[in-house]
């Protein structure tokens, strides 16, 4: 298997220079997720603006883990912040579908932007959880914010 299908430049770039890292106030909900098989962890906070059609004002996070999980958090921050919650969840669905596609998916580049770099991860079953860790924490935090 070609290693560079997994370690795309975009992923390594986000890993070395993560965007939006650090936990910020104020926030509406926080989720802490761990991958029990490897010990990777993420704490992720969301801030919504509270309207009828809420917007994701901020996604802040802190975590430790491999390049894939940490870059996935950075890309998530860039991609979902400033989107309406509805749009963010559409992107979320497209992302999780791509990661679960076992290399068979046709990711929507316009929708997923930098996140298409993670398409290669879907061919590595052992790394799928890494790519999903921050995204599942996001979904969890959003659900808590809505409660």
């Amino acid at each position: 298997m070609q290693l560079d299908t997994l370690y795309q430049e975009i992923i390594l770039d986000h890993y070395k220079r993560p965007k939006g890292r650090g936990l910020r106030e104020p926030y509406d909900a926080e989720a802490h997720h761990v991958n029990p098989t490897c010990g990777d962890e993420i704490t992720l906070r969301v801030r919504l603006d509270g309207g009828a059609d809420p917007r994701v004002v901020d996604v802040s996070y802190e975590g430790m883990g491999c390049s894939i999980s940490q870059a996935a958090a950075s890309v998530l921050h860039e991609l979902l912040r400033d989107k309406s919650l509805a749009e963010a969840l559409t992107v979320h669905d497209a992302y999780t579908e791509m990661i679960g596609s076992r290399g068979q998916g046709q990711p929507d580049g316009e929708l997923l932007e930098d996140a298409v770099a993670f398409a290669g991860v879907s061919k590595y079953p052992g790394r799928v959880k890494c790519a999903l860790l921050p995204w599942m924490a996001f979904k969890d935090a959003v659900a808590r914010a809505a409660d």
């Binding site: 298997m1 290693l3 997994l6 370690y7 390594l12 098989t37 490897c38 010990g39 990777d40 962890e41 430790m64 883990g65 491999c66 390049s67 894939i68 940490q70 590595y124 790394r127 890494c130």
Partner: protein, 454 residues
């Protein structure tokens, strides 16, 4: 970093080279090329490279001799054990009993019925932990042999203490945590030194009159440390505490003699010693096994059953409820035969030289830090390390692309990782079939890791 070589060990480039040299008579050895031929899987290519399997602490590969015996068992002798009068049943029972006798001899047990087959080492530890629990709550003790009912050695309550160490596999932590929660006893543990050893300075404090059992690992699955036992056993005897050793990483790699260790229980697992998965071993002193209440109830472990109550078989059957893993036991017996034919002392020596060679090679990798003893003394061929700024998952992924198979993560020893301030490590572990070329492949793979994440 290299130990003084024994006479007859040749050296290349300043390093001892295991496996290449026919050792002299005072140093056991074997023909490495021939050993490798016994393991069909070792000829595999991974990602276009010759496979370097450096994950035997996780599970070992299986020699043809074991695979053949298991196939023959299923093809020729398959039947349930200890109940059929027919020929196949008799053959299967004999094979199962013979496997128990082989395992007993392998660890120098005084009698075969000191060997209890379990499904793995975790179950063996749980068996002992539940003996305490059941003795405390009366489970099994009421209908068991009255003279052994409620043996005080197994009764636990508030004020009693269970002692483990900070370098345990989760399987030697969680069962004791749960036991202490059930009984109100207190769990205590030995801390670790910066060099990756148990800190014995607290021995007299930690092991005291309140201690009922001390359970710790003979060889650490994450640090590679080989722990001493003499002082601990002496102290435990003084205060009347039982001693259990988790030998999962010891029995596959070195001679283990329960009489010499002079402990009360040991456990280990078949799949790390060239045997199949699904079979583990609890060894216990016969007198203790007799005194312990049962763990799992069911068929085969009883003497008589009425609708009101049951009495139990003698050990080991008392602890082997249900149809046991028969073919797996037979496979483990074959693994014991195989390892004995190679000689455990020779395997230990081979791994020692390989470890010295690997420690040397790893020390030269920039930004690499070994977690655990850095000298090949009092340590096994399991080496954990971290690399500056590169997560072990990524290290393992790049190594796999080079055909080098290592384990990454916390190795089911998360408290040990926390102790050394790392979330996870990369772990290379060796066995009798590994070569210096495979260690070289690891070192070269780590160069590529550094390039990818530069």
């Amino acid at each position: 970093m290299v130990t003084t070589p024994a006479p007859g060990v040749a050296r290349a480039a300043g390093r001892a080279v295991p496996g290449r040299n026919r050792p002299s008579h005072d140093m056991p050895g074997f023909d490495l090329a021939k050993i490798r031929e016994d393991f069909p899987i070792l000829t595999r290519q991974i990602n276009g490279r010759p496979m370097a399997y450096l994950d035997s602490a996780n599970t070992s590969q299986k020699p043809r001799q074991v695979l053949d015996v298991m196939r023959e068992h299923y093809e020729r002798h398959n039947a349930n054990v200890a109940r059929a009068v027919h020929t196949l049943g008799t053959e299967a029972t004999q094979a199962y009993d013979a496997a128990r006798a082989k395992v007993a001899a392998f660890i120098a047990a005084s009698r075969p019925d000191e060997v209890v087959f379990t499904k793995n080492a975790s179950e063996a530890i749980n068996l002992v932990a539940y003996a305490f629990s059941n003795a405390t709550t009366g489970g099994g003790a009421l209908s068991g042999a009255p003279s052994h009912a409620m043996d005080d050695r197994f009764r636990l309550g508030p004020g009693d203490e269970v002692v483990i160490s900070e370098m345990e596999h989760h399987s030697n932590i969680v069962p004791w945590q749960l036991l202490c929660e059930r009984t109100g006893a207190t769990l205590r543990w030995f801390g670790l030194t910066d060099e990756g050893r148990i800190d014995w300075s607290q021995l007299d404090d930690l092991v005291n009159e309140r201690t009922k059992i001390v359970s710790y690992v003979l060889v650490s699955n994450i640090l590679g440390t080989v722990n001493p036992t003499k002082a601990l056993v002496e102290r435990a005897r003084q205060v009347g505490a039982l001693v259990m050793l988790d030998c999962s990483q010891a029995v596959p790699h070195m001679p283990v003699d329960v009489a010499e260790l002079d402990v009360d229980f040991i456990c280990f697992t078949g799949h790390k010693m060239c045997g199949p998965t699904g079979i583990g071993v609890l060894w216990g002193r016969h007198e203790l096994l007799r005194a312990m209440p049962p763990f799992l109830g069911g068929g085969s472990m009883i003497e008589t059953v009425t609708m009101q109550k049951s009495t139990f078989a003698a050990p080991p059957e008392k602890f082997e409820a249900g149809t046991p893993p028969i073919a797996q036991a037979v496979g483990l017996g074959a693994a014991v035969d195989y390892l004995s034919s190679v000689e455990m002392e020779a395997i230990r020596w081979h791994e020692k030289l390989l470890t010295a060679y690997a420690l040397d090679a790893l020390e030269t990798v920039p930004g690499l830090r070994i977690i655990g003893p850095r000298v090949p003394i009092g340590r096994s061929g399991t080496i954990s390390f971290v690399m500056d700024g590169i997560h072990p998952h990524d290290v393992g992924q790049v190594l796999d692309a080079e055909g080098v198979e290592v384990r990454v993560g916390h190795h089911c020893a998360r408290p040990t990782c926390l102790r050394y301030g790392v979330p996870a490590t990369t772990r290379a572990s060796f066995y009798l079939y590994n070569t210096t070329e495979e260690v070289d492949a690891l070192a070269q793979g780590l160069e590529r890791v550094r390039k990818v994440f530069a």
